[in-house]
Symmetry: C3
Subunit: 205 residues, 3 copies
C-alpha cells in the first residue's frame, strides 16, 4: 500500500475506535458510573467486537494485546469525553458520521480476517457483523440495558448488506481496494438513510 | 458408525439446535425486539453453549465456524418462528421434548469433547453443563433477564446427573453408543419428571 | 521457592478463591436463586477473571480446566455459604480482608502471566485488572445488576495502582518475591483505606 492509503487507514482506525469509545463513555456517564466505570465501558464498546471475533477464530492474543495503541486511543478518548462532554455533545453529526465510518471499516476488517482464513462467505459476513456490533452489545449489557441495536434503526442490517456488497464486488473481479472502499460506503450510506428516514426493521408478537 | 446412527445423530442435532433457536426467538419476540434482534438471540441461544466450551478448551475456530450448516439451521428456524409463531406455540409438547432431547444430546457431546482431551471426569461434566446451559444463560442476559435456569425447574441438575450416569456406565464397561443413548435418556427423563411434578431445587436466604 | 512460600501461596489461592466465591454465593442468594444458581454464580465470580484473561492471551485450556482443585474449592465454599450463611455473615471483616488479599494476589498473578509473554507494561496491568475484576463484573451481569465495581469505593483503581507499583519496584531492581509481596500489599492497603474512609472516584454528567 502506498503512503496515502496507510495514512487514510490509520485515520479511519483512530476515528472509528474513538467514536465507539465515546459511545461507551457517554452511555456510562448517563448511568452515573464513576471515572473507572466510564473508562471500562468505553474500552469494551471500542474493542469488544474485535475481541470476540479474535477469540472465535483463534487469532490470539487478541488484537489490542498485540497492538497496544488501541488502548492509548481509548484512554485519551475516554478522558476527553469525561472532561468535555458538554462541548462534544454538540457535534452530534460528526460523532454519528465517525461512528458509521467505524462501523463500516471494522465490519469489512472482520470480514477480511475471515477471508484470510478461507472461511465461507456466510461466516465471513457473520465475523464482520460481530466485529462491528458486539462492542455496542457488550456496552449495553454492562449497563443493564437491552442492546439498543436490537431495537433501533437499521444497524446490523447495514453490516450484512455491506458484507453482501463486498462479496458481490469481490466475485465480480473488482480491485480489492475499490471493493473495500465501496462496501464501507454502502454501510455508511445505509446508516445515514436509516437515521434520516427513521427506518426500522419490523417487529413481531 | 452405520448409516442409521449417522442419520439419527444428524436428526437430533437439527432438532436440538432448532428448539434452542426457537426458545431464543420466542424470548426475543416477547421483548419486542426487531427481526435482526430475534435472529441474533436465536443464534446465541443455539450456539452459545458450544461456543464457550470450544473457547475454554481451545478448540478454535469454534464449531459453527467450521460447520456452517448450524448457521443455516438457525436462520431457517428463526424465520419460521417469526412468521409462524402462533401456530408453533400450539406444539408446546413437541417443543419441550425436542428442547430436552437437545439438552441431553449437547450435554453428552460437550462431555465427550472433554473426554477426547483426557480431562478429569468433573471437568468433562462441567463442559457438558456449559454446552447444554450456557446458550440459555446468554439468551437471558441479552434480554436483560436473570437466567431462568437459575430459578426454574431442575434443568442444569439434569445435565449433571446425566453426566454422572455417563461415567458410571462408562466405567462399568458398557458399549460407548449404549452409554451415550442411556445418559441422554436420563437427562430427558429428569426434565420430563421435573416439569410434570413441578420439581425445583431449594432456595436459601 | 522454598516450602513456606509454596504453603503461603496455596493458602492465599484458597483464601482468595473462596472469598470471591462467597461474594458470588451471597449475591445469588439475595436474588433468591436456587441451589444450582448459587453454585454457578459462585463459580463465575471466582474464576471469571482468570478465564477471560486466559482466553485473551491464548493460554488454553483455561486455568481451572488444567488445575481442577479450583473447582473443588468453589463447590465446598458454595455449599458452606448456603448452609452457614447466617454465621458467615458475622465475619464481615474476615470476608473483606480475604477478598482484598484475593484481589491483590490475582491481580499480580494476571500481571505476571502477561510479563511471561513479554507483553507491554500497560497490557500486563490491564491483564491484572481483568483477572482481579472481571469475576465480580460477570457475577453482577448474571444477576442483572450494573457491576458494583463501576460505582462503589475504589476497587479497580487499587489494581491499577498495585500494577504500577509492581513495575516501579521491578525496574528499581527489587527481588521478585519482595516486589510481589509489596505490590499485593499496596492493593490490600488501598482497599482498606478506601472502605474505611468511604473514598470513591468522581462521577460525571
Amino acid at each position: 500500500m502506498d503512503f496515502y492509503s496507510v495514512l487514510l487507514e490509520n485515520l479511519i482506525i483512530i476515528l472509528g475506535t474513538s467514536s465507539f469509545a465515546v459511545s461507551g463513555a457517554f452511555a456510562a456517564m448517563q448511568k452515573r458510573l464513576d471515572a473507572f466505570g466510564v473508562l471500562i465501558v468505553a474500552f469494551v464498546a471500542a474493542v469488544g467486537g474485535g475481541t470476540l471475533r479474535d477469540l472465535m477464530i483463534g487469532d490470539i492474543p487478541v488484537f489490542w494485546i498485540k497492538e497496544p495503541y488501541y488502548v492509548v486511543i481509548i484512554i485519551i478518548t475516554a478522558l476527553l469525553a469525561m472532561f468535555f462532554w458538554k462541548r462534544l455533545k454538540r457535534f452530534k453529526i460528526i460523532l454519528f458520521l465517525s461512528d458509521s465510518l467505524g462501523l463500516g471499516f471494522f465490519t469489512i476488517l472482520g470480514l477480511q480476517k475471515g477471508l484470510a482464513l478461507h472461511l465461507d462467505a456466510g461466516i465471513c459476513i457473520a465475523l464482520g457483523l460481530v466485529t462491528g456490533c458486539f462492542g455496542g452489545i457488550s456496552r449495553d449489557i454492562l449497563l443493564n440495558n437491552i442492546p439498543i441495536i436490537f431495537r433501533k434503526e437499521i444497524y446490523a442490517t447495514a453490516c450484512i448488506v455491506g458484507g453482501l456488497a463486498y462479496f458481490a464486488l469481490y466475485y465480480a473481479g473488482l480491485d480489492k481496494n475499490l471493493t473495500e472502499v465501496l462496501s464501507i460506503g454502502v454501510i455508511v450510506l445505509i446508516r445515514i438513510i436509516a437515521v434520516k428516514k427513521h427506518l426500522a426493521l419490523p417487529r413481531f408478537y
